[in-house]
């Protein structure tokens, strides 16, 4: 497995505050990794460490195969970064802002112009390319930031809270752009956010960060099983009519560990996936099966559960 980020035992102390405290982070090439945590958990500090914008107190980091402390420029050439609350030179136009960044990356002339033009088209800012950035809304600035990452065409993009402070429509557009970059260009993406719904929607893997450490990591399904059901399988059934006899019968079925009533539903916990057996049993006993589905725990439930325990 090829990792684009390998960080081991990272520590970063600001005076007495432990912003990052023994963090381990591995991001695979080609995935969208969601870094999830409440404000002040150490997300931004972690990102600054990866970029080499701040020095770790201790620990090992490799990004795209380089150590950002020793070879910061090599890393910065390969990374695209969208900071939280992005700012531009307000008196310059969108185009001029991007062209400056292009020049700093050693791009110029037609090549730079072509790339910027394409990126502005992708994010839907082509029409306003020659307007001063001070006339832009927050969402437009954010999309301009995405365009900046796009035209640089990096191996690895770090997006810090890309949708914060943006209306749902705008946030949706941005998430689609992020997925597109990942799909079409194979860009590895680190997405930091405290908005669970969005992370859930586009990330392949999620890491939950708390007090400067990754406390849980994996795909959404893995996290679900690990944190909520302690490795057990869980699903809901809706039956008509709901009689005590049936409940007793189902409780005695093979593999059922627990059965409880939750409003109109029966929530069944089992060792393995026994949904079809349960369905058969209900129908055989002459009851009507209205609904049967797996528990769709959202990331929010996992997240809350986690921070309640801590």
């Amino acid at each position: 497995m090829e990792y684009i980020v390998e960080a081991k035992g990272l520590h970063k102390y600001y005076d007495t505050v432990k912003a990052v405290n023994g963090l381990n982070l591995y991001i695979r090439r080609g995935e969208i990794y969601g870094l999830l945590g409440p404000n002040g958990a150490g997300k931004t500090t972690t990102i600054l460490l990866l970029l080499g914008l701040t020095e770790p107190t201790s620990g090992e980091i490799r990004v795209c195969g380089f150590d950002p402390r020793k070879e910061p420029l090599k890393v910065k050439r390969l990374i695209g970064y969208l900071p939280e609350n992005i700012g531009f030179y307000e008196d310059l136009t969108a185009w001029e802002n991007l062209y400056y960044i292009a020049q700093l990356n050693g791009l110029k002339g037609q090549e730079a112009e072509k790339r910027i033009k394409e990126a502005l088209y992708e994010v839907g800012l082509k029409e306003v390319a020659h307007r001063q950035v001070k006339t832009f809304s927050k969402g437009m600035k954010q999309r301009l930031g995405i365009a900046e990452v796009m035209f640089k065409d990096p191996q690895f993009a770090i997006l810090d809270e890309p949708t914060s402070g943006i209306d749902p429509e705008g946030a949706h557009q941005i998430l689609e752009l992020i997925q597109k970059m990942n799909r079409e260009k194979g860009m590895t993406i680190l997405l930091s956010s405290h908005l669970l719904y969005q992370v859930q929607k586009i990330c392949h893997r999620v890491g939950i960060i708390s007090k400067g450490q990754i406390v849980a990591e994996g795909t959404l399904d893995e996290l679900r099983i690990k944190t909520l059901t302690e490795g057990k399988f869980q699903f809901k059934v809706k039956v008509k009519p709901l009689s005590e006899d049936l409940i007793e019968e189902l409780r005695k079925s093979k593999g059922v560990i627990d059965l409880r009533k939750e409003e109109d539903f029966l929530v069944i916990t089992s060792e393995s996936d026994i949904r079809s057996e349960i369905a058969k049993r209900i129908l055989d006993s002459g009851f009507e099966l209205i609904e049967l589905r797996g528990m769709d725990y959202t990331l929010e439930e996992i997240y809350l559960r986690y921070f309640q325990e801590v």
Binding site: Y14, L73, I79, F88, L104
Partner: protein, 312 residues
């Protein structure tokens, strides 16, 4: 190194299209035209009575009745000029939240600050040079004859020293832009330093001299000499005084230093004008101090910026 020039051209472009450049250029143009016009008029009446040498240089140093000469105007105005182009160099990038975006690009931190400093420095140098050329042109039109080679050399030196002087204040402004997070604080701090050196330094020098050598009504000659000596030594710590002495020596060929220190050290006081080389020799220490101060300011800014945490 490529990054430095990208930053340089961008900042230069910003400077020339900025409002502050227009305002500063307008003020300095106005003063240059007014002061050289008035002193040219003054000069022509003097010249009829006492024909003298180095008429062109007097265009820079002869004040009109109610208007300062260009040289003394520059002494007060140059600090403001330098500071205005430097005070928000770095902290405005923080408040605009552009700093992490720029530093995430393949650009060395020192290229960034060097490029910014250089761009403002070149802007100021261009401004001062064009003003000087303007004054020379006006002088030719008003006086009716061109400057001599020697005079041109001295004017060139004057320009060089002025640019270094402005460079010192620019470096100070840049330093404050790194030390203070908010542009307002750094602007106030820069202006405070400017006012201190321009006005309070004289009072401070007086107070220190009074403390060390109290002058009673029956003070001896010796005490008086010592008193002024201390005062002058204190004033030598002010870049404003240093600049004033330097340009006086350059623009007034008969100048050999002022005050008690010059009197005590000079065994003989010839009245004939010094050659340009001799004038340079007189101001060499001051010139060195001026350059050193600018470099120290820049070195501190550099060190402070390289270790600055980027968290915005």
């Amino acid at each position: 190194m490529g990054g430095l020039w990208v930053v340089f051209w961008k900042e230069l472009n910003d400077n020339f299209s900025s409002r502050r450049f227009l305002i500063m250029f307008f003020i300095i143009c106005f003063v240059a035209i007014a002061s050289s016009y008035l002193s040219a008029q003054n000069l022509s009446t003097i010249l009829e009575q006492y024909p003298t040498e180095f008429v062109f240089l007097r265009l820079f140093v002869t004040p009109a009745e109610s208007f300062p000469s260009f040289a003394s105007f520059l002494m007060f105005f140059a600090p403001l000029l330098g500071v205005i182009f430097g005070f928000d160099a770095i902290n405005s990038e923080f408040s605009r939240r552009t700093v992490s975006r720029i530093l995430a690009q393949p650009l060395h931190r020192d290229s960034w600050i060097n490029g910014k400093f250089l761009a403002s420095f070149v802007t100021l140098a261009i401004m001062l040079t064009s003003i000087t050329v303007l004054i020379i042109g006006l002088g030719i039109a008003l006086l009716g004859f061109p400057p001599e080679i020697g005079e041109l050399g001295r004017i060139g030196l004057f320009l060089g020293v002025s640019i270094i002087y402005v460079g010192f204040w620019l470096a100070l402004g840049v330093l404050f832009s790194i030390l203070f997070d908010r542009t307002v604080s750094s602007a106030l701090a820069s202006i405070a330093v400017w006012i201190f050196f321009s006005f309070f330094m004289y009072m401070l020098a007086g107070v220190i001299a009074d403390r060390l050598v109290p002058l009673g009504p029956k003070a001896s000659m010796e005490a008086w000499v010592k008193h002024s000596y201390i005062k002058e030594v204190v004033l030598k710590f002010s870049p404003t005084t240093i600049f004033n002495e330097t340009i006086s020596a350059i623009l007034i060929p008969t100048y050999k230093g002022v005050g008690i220190i010059a009197l005590l050290s000079g065994e003989e006081i010839p009245t004939s004008p010094l050659s340009i080389g001799q004038s340079l020799l007189v101001v060499w220490p001051q010139l060195t101090i001026l350059i050193a101060m600018a470099l120290i300011c820049f070195a501190i800014s550099y060190a402070a910026f390289m270790r600055r945490e980027i968290r915005s």
